[in-house]
């Protein structure tokens, strides 16, 4: 695959989600790299900047995904990476983090939010939607 093919990074401590998600995104023509921890992913980003990061919220810490997205969005070099947060925190812990407005999304430093488990077709649609939007913005 050519380097122009967008790179998407998947971060989740559930290897099954990584495997299935990666398969779905590769099928759509993206390059995919998978990591079980945010620190490994950040390391990789220094080598090659991805177009998008799809990360779990609850990993080692309850809010590991939030600090990860903050680390990306606060870095002037990385801040234009699209961040998608996927989580089951609502059904698992009773916290309702679902963003209702664009402002909510911005507050959690994310470009999209998905409830777990994410089915492959939902993931593909979301990625297409976000990358399509980004392309449109860049053309203008």
């Amino acid at each position: 695959m050519s380097p122009e093919t967008p790179l998407i990074i998947l971060v989740d401590d559930d290897p099954d989600f990584l495997e299935i998600g990666a398969h779905a995104l590769k099928a759509d023509g993206y390059r995919v790299a998978c990591f079980v921890t945010p620190s490994e992913a950040l390391e990789q980003m220094q080598r090659e900047k991805p177009r998008m990061v799809i990360t779990d919220l609850m990993m080692k810490d309850l809010d590991a995904g939030f600090s990860f997205s903050r680390a990306i969005k606060d870095d002037p070099h990385l801040k234009d990476i699209l961040v998608v947060i996927v989580t089951a925190i609502g059904s698992q812990r009773g916290f309702d983090f679902r963003p209702r407005t664009q402002a909510d999304l911005e507050a959690m430093r994310a470009d999209a939010y998905l409830e777990k488990p994410v089915m492959p077709d939902v993931l593909q649609a979301k990625v297409r939607e976000l990358l399509g939007k980004r392309q449109g913005e860049q053309k203008r």
Partner: protein
């Protein structure tokens, strides 16, 4: 009328008068005592206290008739008192009557006049006693009614539920102590108070008014209402007269904060279960989809994915059965069959069945039995102890990397048999060790990412151990390993 038990006293300083009267009365069958002045009469009266009638002369030495009548009347309301005097004037008659005399007999009088007065006196006395009895009875009943009322008030006031009663005019007429606490605004006005002034919550006012003015006849309301930021269940019903007319509304306000909390915990639990089920199913479904599109291209990879899918599916099945087991334990539908068990024997047996799984992961599972002198016995359910042990060994094996060690040890003191499962695996952070027995709790980090589990195994261990009046604890150090210890009370040693 004349009766042996009727006692009459004649008080006169004139002996002839005393004796004359006495004879007339004795002839009629009365029991007669005589006294020559007020002092003697008073002594006699206080000694016997059973005189039905007294005939009293006014003018006597030491104590006159007026004073005597006054003193006797104070002590006895029923005795018939007649004044006998030769110096009759209207004034003295009125004076004597004021002091308590019933009548007046002017000297000289005929025997018939005397007897007539005595009979009238006795009749009056009987009536007076009857009247007094009736009055006392009525007072007693009033007292009972008042007591009943205060008893009901006390009971209503002691209720933990708030009680308010609203009359037909929409005024609060009763409010118990709990209601005063629940509706603080109602204490700012004195009862009866209009609803609008006493109840700040419009919703509650609405419920009460609707019942009061219900167009479709009397109705009963049962609704949740928030009062002073706390949830209450309001149960209101009309107070209906035997004729069917609505006299008012009685409402009971029950604090349901604890119930709501329970409800929240329950729905969170349901959503946790649903999530666990959904994520296993999503993984299985995801893998199946990948396999379908990949099968011919990469048969080896597809086989690996199938193994993963099967693992997730079997974990899901295990989770459902463990969940059912946990609920059965919690609802008391789990029957234990206790029998004396040799701990060494059951440990050796269970460890044997776990060996294969450990070997597969290249983990050395060893067993150290204890109590060489005499067998260590507990009174327990065989299946339950096996489940406890295999869950602990399974847990240790899962969180110990290849090449590690798991040791099962049996020990005992005078009270407990101790079964411990120790590993040199990844260990637990202190905050995770505290939660490790919680349902669905699983440690999440890079080392546990590939471990598949239900998060219920240790919860079951805890429940089963506690059912046997034992305890389970964990000692762990991150990166060094964990040791779970189960203490079960020893069975009483047979002699």
């Amino acid at each position: 009328m004349s009766d042996d038990s009727v006692h009459i006293m004649v008080v006169d300083d004139e002996p002839g008068m005393r004796e004359g009267c006495r004879r007339i009365l004795v002839a009629e069958g009365y029991n007669v005592a005589t006294a020559e002045d007020g002092v003697v009469a008073m002594e006699l009266f206080e000694k016997h206290r059973d005189f039905a009638t007294m005939l009293v002369d006014l003018k006597m030495p030491r104590m006159g008739g007026i004073e005597l009548i006054e003193r006797i009347r104070k002590q006895d309301q029923d005795v018939a008192l007649f004044v006998i005097t030769a110096y009759a004037t209207i004034e003295t008659a009125i004076e004597a009557t004021k002091r308590g005399a019933n009548g007046y007999l002017a000297k000289p009088f005929t025997p018939d006049e005397l007897l007539l007065h005595v009979r009238n006196g006795l009749e009056w006395r009987a009536l007076s006693a009857e009247t007094r009895r009736l009055r006392e009875e009525r007072e007693k009943r009033l007292l009972e009614v008042a007591f009943e009322r205060s008893k009901i008030n006390t009971i209503v006031n002691c209720m933990t539920d708030g009680v308010i009663v609203v009359n037909r005019d929409g005024q609060i007429v009763l409010r118990n102590a709990a209601a005063a606490r629940i509706l603080p605004s109602s204490t700012e006005v004195s009862l009866p108070a209009p609803l609008g002034a006493a109840v700040a919550c419009a919703e509650l006012r609405d419920i009460l008014t609707k019942i009061l003015r219900g167009p479709s006849g009397p109705l009963v309301a049962s609704r949740e209402v928030e009062l002073e930021k706390c949830p209450y269940m309001v149960n209101a019903s009309p107070v209906v007269e035997p004729g069917g007319e609505i006299l008012g509304v009685v409402a009971v306000l029950r604090d349901i904060a604890a119930l709501k909390k329970l409800e929240t915990a329950k729905s969170l639990f349901v959503s946790m279960v649903a999530h666990e089920v959904k994520s296993h199913l999503a993984a299985v479904e995801g893998y199946l989809n990948v396999i379908r599109s990949d099968l011919e291209k990469e048969p080896q990879r597809s086989r690996e994915m199938m193994d993963r899918a099967i693992l997730r599916a079997s974990t899901l099945r295990q989770m459902v059965s463990e969940l059912l087991e946990l609920r059965a334990i919690e609802t008391g539908n789990f029957m234990l069959t206790r029998s004396p068990l040799d701990v060494n024997e059951i440990v050796a047996e269970t460890a044997e069945t776990c060996k294969a799984k450990a070997k597969e992961k290249s983990i050395e599972l060893s067993v150290r039995l204890g109590g060489r002198e005499k067998p260590i016995k507990v009174l327990a359910d065989r299946t339950a102890v096996r489940t406890v042990l295999s869950n602990l060994i399974d847990n240790a094996t899962k969180y110990t990397p290849a090449g590690g060690h798991v040791t099962v040890r049996v020990e005992s003191d005078h009270v407990y048999a101790r079964l411990s499962v120790k590993d040199d695996g990844i260990g637990l952070a202190p905050e995770d060790a505290a939660k490790v027995f919680d349902e669905f709790f699983r440690v999440r980090n890079e080392q546990t990412a590939h471990v598949v589990g239900t998060g219920l195994g240790l919860s079951i261990v805890k429940q089963l151990v506690e059912m046997h009046h034992g305890k389970v604890s964990v000692v762990s150090a991150l990166g060094k390993g964990s040791e779970f210890t189960v203490s079960l009370p020893l069975a009483e040693q047979s002699p």
